[in-house]
Symmetry: C3
Subunit: 348 residues, 3 copies
């Protein structure tokens, strides 16, 4: 923050068409209602125009279809994308001075790139590799032979267990645990015997992992999170799960062991996927749903167990009429009985 | 513990009417069945009297309506409140010696009140403010410009990201993450582009935050938790959510982005609230329910999606009869068909 | 890894009958499809035989019933158990050199057995007891008077609050919080007053606790997790809960205050148990279900609220036919009305 840009510079940066004075000075982005002079706000759809009227923002990002005449407009086909770009412009990724804090413990045979930043109270175990421009915040644990790819940033209190590989430009939020043991036991007649979990976790490039997320290591082989996938807080990913590229797992969702999630899947909040099933590419799973069988690519499903969204919505609507239906049927039964009684002898 | 009080002292402290000898010595509080000589137990309702008979407790806290004659009684209109007071009397909040552990890393330009206690392995970043009588337990991370209000206690492994403000007399349990990035992305045609999350989190006074809770920072502006609100373990509060005063969020509940929770709301365990909705003051949401639209103040709702509790209970009861209903209707259909067949020609 | 064994040695170790050359050298275990020369793989059921054909593994663990003739077989009645044994053989529990890192803070009056291993950045508070062969990983917090039993291993970022007792040979995964305050408040007319939580948590022997699990201390008395019980990631166990021996709590399940879970219970993923109920020995609760009342031993239940699995499955099947049922009944009503109209005068 603190930096000031002209509207013209901003328009060029985000590739927007400017309607208005390019010389107007902008010092940041504001929420729509709280826009003050010198700020730019977003009106992504016409329905927000009411709120714009009350805003004192100096400029607006809006799509071509929304009519705005009372202040300068940055016209963009994808206004939310333009908004993200303006936010980036005013809030560039912070650069930290490289180096290893003397309050950290880095194994002598770990490899740390000279451009990496290691804050105090970090532990990097033997043979771990920390690539260029990685940032390890305080209280990060990097286990033996683990590897953190170029430009990734690991927030406080993240645990990266032995052998786990994190790709490039990943962002791992506080408290996430990558590579905890899979939950695997076999009953030996007297107790649950632990199945050693000797596989690992592979996080591909540009993955974001939310706070307190748990991604378990595979029993054998790898638990994989595909490139560009984004995982919200408190999500559970069990052992041997594979998640494709660009999928979205919303908060508190959970995926049980060995299931395969395709690419471009959206798993809604608090949704669950049982073990050993496949969720096809592009599936959308609504919040609190439970996937209990293979789901075809492109499906949009909801409910426990999940059905197609259309069907689930019909069922939900019908459910509200169920108590009345019970009464109706009871009445029908009586009326039918009465008719039968009247006609009784006739058909014998 | 260890301290001994007379029943008379206790009665005065909690504002109870004592029936019995004020000189009896009490050294603590016990669970009802495990009460031994020298302990006081709680009988909040008459239904617990059976268990009292087996207890060797020296005194009982009970409401006026419950008849007890076999031992001294502390009579209180709100016996649970009296019980809490007696517990406080025997277990006062521990006082820690002020000072900053030399095993912690506090930025030179952070402000730490001399009465604050900073345990070993704490990080306080630049320009952060730690007010009077704050306690920071081991492995607490306080980011840049964050502020912890007077008398608040932050348990081990809590992450408080940059700019987050925690009010006075708050209690933050282990592993909570305040101010992680909101989960905001915009698809640019090839990948999910991160929307920089440049807002913050404001926790007002007297808030309790459970273990491993996640409260995300706002995209712009603030995510707010109102004064006196209590949040149980593993709850998710997304970016730009506002929660009013004195609300209760039970374990594993989740609130999606930009939703507004009123004051005095109770959100049951594992319940969910979708994004951009409003849950009115005093609403009660039963466990595992999903709020998918605005909910009027004072509503009591349940189910996925949530309906009024009365309606949901009727639906649940009716559901159990649904398999039989299908059979009944099939039979009715056949009987009707038979009647129609008999009368068939007649109406043509 | 790295060690090589003969098939004969392996057969003896796991108590399997070997069909094939005992001198064949094996250097590890592989996933079925990825088996290479020198590895052994598991074919637990005949349905996996297809995949075995593609595998280059040198040997197979299989039950007597599955016909395999193309390579050596280790025959075991319980092939999964044999598989776990072979994994153990090749991946023995790592032994760490005993001693206390000089980068840790251990109270002078704590007791640490000389055979225990304390890694850097660990805090052990006053009067805590660390028994023989315990391993405390970096960033572990052990509160006052807490006790960690012989051979237990505590992973990074675990918080063990004051007075908590962990049994022998337990495994506690990263970020777990044992002994956070129970969620207990009483409304005093103006605010939610905290009920001091002065009880504790007892984890019996051979318990495994997953990553970011929360087990709250009792208000008074103890929250108990029985011997040999296994808890998956992100599970919530509230104050005063008791869990019997050998139970299994799958990821993201939650148990509310004072409920009693029997022994040999399986609580499925994302399932919930309300407060003050009892779940009998051997109960199986399917994922996302909600237990809201006492559940008889041996029950197998599903749904919100939970019913017997058979009943719930019937309801689920019937639900899919509900929208059609509504139409059918509407038609029946019209047909009945038509009949009644035709017969109308007749019965008057």
């Amino acid at each position: 923050m603190g930096q000031v840009r002209t509207l013209g510079e901003i328009a060029r940066h985000v590739g927007a068409v400017l309607e208005g004075d390019p010389g107007i000075l902008i010092r940041g982005v504001a929420p729509l209602e709280q826009g003050t002079e010198g700020t730019v706000v977003l009106v992504a759809e016409a329905k927000y125009l009411d709120r714009l009227a009350q805003s004192r923002a100096s400029a607006v990002i809006a799509p071509p279809s929304v009519r705005i005449t009372d202040r300068p407009v940055l016209r963009a086909e994808n206004p939310r994308l333009a908004f993200a770009s303006v936010l980036e412009l005013f809030n560039p990724l912070e650069i930290f001075p490289p180096g290893i804090s003397h309050s950290s413990v880095v194994a002598p045979d770990a490899t740390v790139h000279p451009s990496a930043t290691i804050f105090p109270f970090v532990v990097v175990e033997s043979e771990a590799v920390i690539e260029a421009e990685v940032v390890l915040c305080p209280f990060v644990y990097v286990g033996r032979r683990a590897r953190i790819g170029e430009g990734s940033r690991i927030h406080p209190h993240v645990t990266i267990q032995a052998d786990v590989r994190v790709g490039r430009r990943c962002l791992i939020h506080p408290g996430a645990v990558l590579g905890g043991d899979g939950f695997g036991f076999v009953f030996d007649g007297a107790s649950h015997r632990k199945i050693p979990q000797v596989g690992t976790v592979v996080i591909e490039d540009e993955v974001e992992v939310g706070a307190n997320v748990c991604i378990d290591r595979a029993t054998l082989g790898e638990t994989v999170v595909g490139r560009g996938t984004k995982i919200d807080n408190l999500v559970q990913v069990a052992h041997n799960v594979t998640i494709g590229e660009r999928s979205i797992l919303v908060a508190q969702a959970g995926i049980a062991g060995s299931s395969r999630i395709g690419r471009d899947v959206i798993l809604g909040p608090q949704a669950g996927v049982v073990d050993h099933v496949s969720v096809g590419d592009g599936c959308q799973v609504l919040g609190q749903s439970a996937i209990i069988e293979d789901t075809a690519p492109g499906s949009k499903v909801a409910g426990t167990p999940a059905r197609s969204v259309q069907e689930e919505f019909r069922v939900i609507a019908a459910l509200g009429r169920l108590p009345q239906l019970l009464k109706t049927v009871r009445t029908l039964e009586k009326r039918l009985q009465a008719l039968e009684a009247r006609l009784g002898g006739a058909s014998e």
